[in-house]
Amino acid sequence: MTPVTTPSPSRRAEGPSGTAEGPGPEEEQALQARFDAAVAAEERIEPRDWMPDAYRATLVRQIAQHAHSEIIGMQPEANWITRAPSLRRKAILMAKVQDEAGHGLYLYGAAETLGVSRQELLDKLHEGRQKYSSIFNYPTLTWADVGAIGWLVDGAAITNQVPLCRCSYGPYARAMVRICKEESFHQRQGYELLLALTRGTDAQRAMAQDAVDRWWWPSLMMFGPPDDESAHSARSMEWKIKRHSNDELRQRFVDICVPQAEALGLSLPDPDLRWNEERGHWDFGAIDWEEFRQVLKGNGPCNEQRLARRRAAHENGAWVREAAAAHAAKHAAGGPRRSATAPAARSRA
């Protein structure tokens, strides 16, 4: 990983010449040309480089939404931690949910390099002014849902995220490299969980099939609206934030999943699913985009519950944050015996 300094927002705002005013029109043209050339040459844009305002705004929106999805995504799965059927499954699920928190933190960190504060992002999430992936507004009704989420939801996420490792914005791309490495465990544990169920009793097989039936279509919706309706796609592709279109990634995901479902002995709930020899891809049925829009608008089964839970967790954690701040202030006032890091720092000099 390339070292990168994460500037504080104030440092960024100062700008190269130390003035509050932006560059003049001619200078701006030169900066734009340099930016375009860097993107075209597959160089990475780093936090303190000049970038178009719209590029910055697009990245903030996308990375924030991504970060919010990671931490909201902890809820549907955490729902089953206390009821995991074995200690092994429980330890795995806790590790996975902890990973999702970590992914959220990597991404908030990446968003902050663009000059927004953590608090601002959380406020926007809590007030419903920034979105998270609509998939997390569906409920986890049975234990098999934990498997279906790992296999399908994390599988779709990986399909989406692997190309983001080559995103033109350095900090986002680096966060995605870490995340993708960790996601593959998520997907495998889900698949293995479903496999255990399909090798079990009739009731367990039925439970696995039911979960896959419910999660299949929402997983396909995770790739976003079809290409001709996707508002930001074309520009994001030009900027090399996005590398493939929504429909392209969705097709890739379907092609990956069909043989995996076969290996599980489960069916996918789509009567139109069939191999197209000519295209070399699986054809699949029409997606109910009205459902997608409704869930996005806040009318999904769990929208309210998820946000209320998030707000409550934040508010209930206030005393912990206050105590930590008070502890830090007390030790800062207490003189040199401050922390265990000082000797270590000296010894490397």
């Binding site: 300094t5 994460t6 500037p7 303190r48 990597y106 930590a324 502890h327 030790h331 401050r338 265990a340």
Partner: protein
């Protein structure tokens, strides 16, 4: 909490014999919490044997906009590289 805690840059030594490498950043009220959080955030899979946390505000960085003049003195000195020199064919261990 109305304001964010200070930002810390995290450096991880992945194994003995290698230098610390920047891994990312996090917020924490003090250095000790920053270290603990860094452990939980960046070394959940034994990715490190040693961690540094540095207040982001303590880092002085070269400006990307001064890039060319700042690094320019190195650009016209190819004789600092071994490939600059001609070596007769057949001469070995040079």
């Amino acid at each position: 909490m109305s304001a964010d805690w200070p930002l810390w840059e995290v450096f991880v030594r992945s194994r003995r014999g290698l230098s610390h490498t920047h891994a990312g950043s996090l917020h924490a009220p003090d250095a000790r919490m920053a270290l603990r959080n860094a452990r939980d955030l960046f070394t959940r899979r034994s990715e490190g044997v040693s961690l540094w946390v540095v207040p982001s505000s303590a880092i002085t960085a070269s400006s990307p906009d001064e890039k060319d003049p700042f690094f320019e003195p190195a650009a016209d000195k190819p004789y600092r590289h071994p490939t600059f020199y001609e070596v007769p064919e057949g001469v070995r261990n040079l």
